[in-house]
């Protein structure tokens, strides 16, 4: 066995407001290990603990040749781990979907706080849309209702599949949907019908928000944390009248995409990775914020420090503080060399 030959691998990290996902792939794009965990409002901690868990799950000797970060906390996590590439989550999801199903034409993605639709052709993104404003089109819609019904979200799928038909739950807005759901309960609908009705309402909201005026061609891939809910798959298939594929690693697709992007970028430009190693988990990072105060905009600037050394700052409208970011690569590599 190639005990002494380390397998080349790439790490992808997707830090969103609800979940933090990490994935390691090899040069063939196969997933070697992955972690899915809650962010719980502490992105740095989530990344550090995720790295620890990931290291223990990784098979044998591997060497990380590149790291990509994505998700709403992509810049922050990029600084923490020493990312080689920082990409937005739309591109990351699209790349991952194109990788698992090369023929894919439509990616439906529903996360905890936002949702996206991505249309591809020949593996290339041709159109996309993202909703981050309306909660009724995201996973938080179901989370909210599950708390109200007192039924764990994990069991939603089982209930929804038992329903003959969904209860018609109106309202594009979480608040309206909730009052309508209570009404339907009072009228005497069963739990199964109501839960399937909620899935249908979410699908309707999602399609109204994001798919208006777009042709959703097959194959369709449904990914993101909400894809675990088989009621949602059923509702999508009923609404679109076609089969919907759920990829094996549906809930870490963002991380897989980031890893693939890291692979791609390291291939194009020959350079050494900035990755600080799994030990990045041991640093004591501190983030803080302050008001710029240089103009009336008074932007909130986010600062991240390790041992009183400022690693990065960002957040201003004018880009004044981001100028520091141009030096970020040097700064971060400085830290990693001191390890």
């Amino acid at each position: 066995m190639g005990d002494h030959i380390k397998e080349d691998a790439f790490l992808g990290i997707d830090v969103g407001s609800v979940s933090t996902n990490l994935a390691v792939i090899n040069v063939k794009g196969e997933v070697l290990a992955y972690i899915y965990r809650r962010t719980q409002g502490q992105p740095i901690k989530a990344v550090q603990q995720g790295l620890k868990e990931l290291e223990s799950e990784l098979p044998g000797d591997i060497s990380i040749l590149g790291v990509g970060t994505t998700g709403s906390a992509r810049y922050l996590s990029g600084v923490v781990v020493g990312a080689d590439i920082v990409k937005n989550e739309i591109t990351a999801h699209a790349v991952a979907a194109g990788h698992v199903a090369p023929e894919v034409r439509t990616v439906l993605e529903i996360g905890g706080q936002d949702s996206k639709i991505i249309l591809l052709k020949d593996g290339i993104v041709v159109d996309f849309a993202m909703n981050s404003v309306c909660a009724a089109g995201t996973g938080s819609f179901l989370d909210h209702q599950s708390a109200r019904l007192g039924i764990p979200i994990e069991e939603f799928g089982d209930y929804a599949l038992k329903a003959d038909e969904g209860a018609q739950i109106a309202g594009r807005c979480s608040v309206f949907a909730e009052s309508d759901m209570i009404h339907k309960q009072q009228v005497g609908y069963g739990l199964e019908e109501i839960i399937y009705g909620l899935c249908q309402a979410l699908v309707r909201n999602y399609l109204n928000n994001l798919a208006k005026g777009k042709d959703l061609l097959g194959p369709l891939v449904f990914q993101g944390g909400v894809a675990a809910n088989s009621g949602m798959k059923r509702a999508f298939e009923a609404a679109l009248n076609t089969e919907v594929i759920i990829p094996k690693y549906y809930n870490v697709m963002g991380a897989i995409g980031a890893a693939l992007l890291a692979h791609e970028s390291m291939m194009f430009e020959e350079r050494k990775t900035n990755f600080k190693g799994f030990a990045a988990a041991d640093f004591n990072y501190k983030t803080s914020s302050f008001s710029c105060g240089c103009c009336e905009n008074n932007c909130e600037i986010i600062k991240i420090k390790v041992d009183d050394k400022v690693l990065a700052r960002w957040g201003g409208r004018c880009g004044k503080w981001e100028l520091d970011q141009a030096n970020r690569r040097r700064d971060t590599s400085g830290v990693s060399s001191s390890v």
Binding site: R172, N208, K212
Partner: protein, 370 residues
């Protein structure tokens, strides 16, 4: 060819009669409902107004029933409605429907743009079209006059629901009208039915003017049946717009009774220029009703309606200066009946307490005089 046109209150009386006279086959899509709205909202842009969403819903329902020709009004702006026919055509084509769209432009954009499309679908001469138009108007106007009477009657009825019952009977009477010569006779009969409702004229009622965007005002589904709701709660109503006034060729508004020029003059100090749609008329009517001693104003319009949003911006200063309470309702597919009812109840409470206070003041004054 099987034509269809959108639903809006009883506009089908006018358009149906007209198409009959022109020998055009048509079908009526179902009246506006939740289903119509859900269908429309699915295809219409989010920030378009409720009328567009309902139009789209109507047309889809009509196309599913077999219509192949859609008839829609045009316009010259600046209100968006004038471009809806074009937008609807694109949305429905993109949704995969096959049909022919006939847009009837207002005569002010050129006489031929108005009469040309009608000529094309009916194959009738301009003279015949003209006659058909002239003959179908009086019947529709009779419906408006009946409606106007109902709004003033309901608040006095002794038995709740009596007016609505009489109204339904009266509508049956009016639908017997087959030509302009029969209008007077049947209208008299219909009005008599509503006038015959047992009333308590000593009852203290609130006088409220309903103003705003025409579609919402004219369509009971769009306005959540607000008129009946108010009527049975002892509110005497007058409304700023009627179907034939809106669609009619003159600016005199024979049913509503206040001409556009007069309204513009009333509004002058607050809004000195037209802003499309009924924006200027809404301001003018508020002042008109305030001058007539009304107790309050209810302003209804679709969410994102440009002219009425302008009116809404200006109306608070009118209300302050003329001391008349105004309540605004922005209506879209998310508007719930329950929420509107709660706010309306509170508004009526406010109007009643003002009325009582004013009466008390008047009483004290007259005592002092004695």
């Amino acid at each position: 060819m099987l034509a269809a046109f959108p639903r809006m209150g009883h506009i089908d009386i006018l358009l149906g009669d007209l198409l009959d006279r022109l020998g055009i086959d048509y079908l009526l899509p179902p009246v506006n409902s939740e289903k119509t709205l859900v269908l429309g909202a699915k295809y219409a842009p989010e920030f378009s107004c409720l009328p567009l969403k309902l139009n789209i819903g109507n047309f889809i329902e009509a196309l599913e029933l077999g219509a192949d020709t859609l008839i829609m009004a045009g316009g010259r702006g600046p209100c968006r409605f004038g471009y809806y026919a074009e937008i609807e055509r694109r949305i429905l084509k993109d949704a995969g429907y096959d049909f022919n769209m006939i847009t009837i432009e207002p005569p002010s954009l050129g006489f031929f743009k108005f009469v040309g499309p009608i000529k094309k679908v009916s194959g009738k001469s301009i003279r015949k079209i003209w006659r058909a138009l002239k003959e179908s108007f009086p019947k529709a106007r009779a419906f408006d006059q009946l409606e106007k009477l109902v709004l003033k009657t309901r608040c006095y009825e002794i038995k709740t629901g009596a007016t609505t019952k009489a109204y339904k009977k009266a509508l049956d009477v009016l639908s017997k009208i087959s030509g302009p010569k029969e209008v007077d006779g049947y209208l008299e009969e219909a009005l008599a039915l509503v006038e015959g409702v047992e009333k308590n004229l000593d009852r203290s009622v609130l006088k409220v003017g309903i103003i705003g965007e025409f579609f919402i005002l004219l369509d009971p589904f769009a306005n959540l049946d607000i008129e009946e709701w108010l009527g049975i709660r002892n509110v005497y109503l007058e409304r700023s717009v009627y179907v034939t006034d809106w669609i009619g060729p003159t600016a005199n508004n024979p049913v509503g009774g206040v001409s556009d020029t007069h309204l513009a003059k009333l509004a002058e100090n607050y809004l000195s220029h037209f802003v499309g749609g009924e924006g200027l008329a809404s301001v003018g009517h508020t002042i008109h009703y305030a001058n007539q001693g009304f107790d309050g104003i209810i302003h209804l319009f679709p969410f994102t309606c440009m002219p009425e949003t302008i009116a809404k911006t200006i109306l608070p200063s009118v209300g302050r200066d003329l001391d008349i309470p105004i309540i605004h309702f922005t209506i879209d597919e998310q508007t719930g009946k329950a929420g509107v009812a709660t706010r309306l109840e509170a508004f009526l409470d406010l109007l009643w307490s003002r009325k009582r206070q004013n009466e008390k003041k008047r009483l004290v004054k007259s005592r002092q005089l004695v």
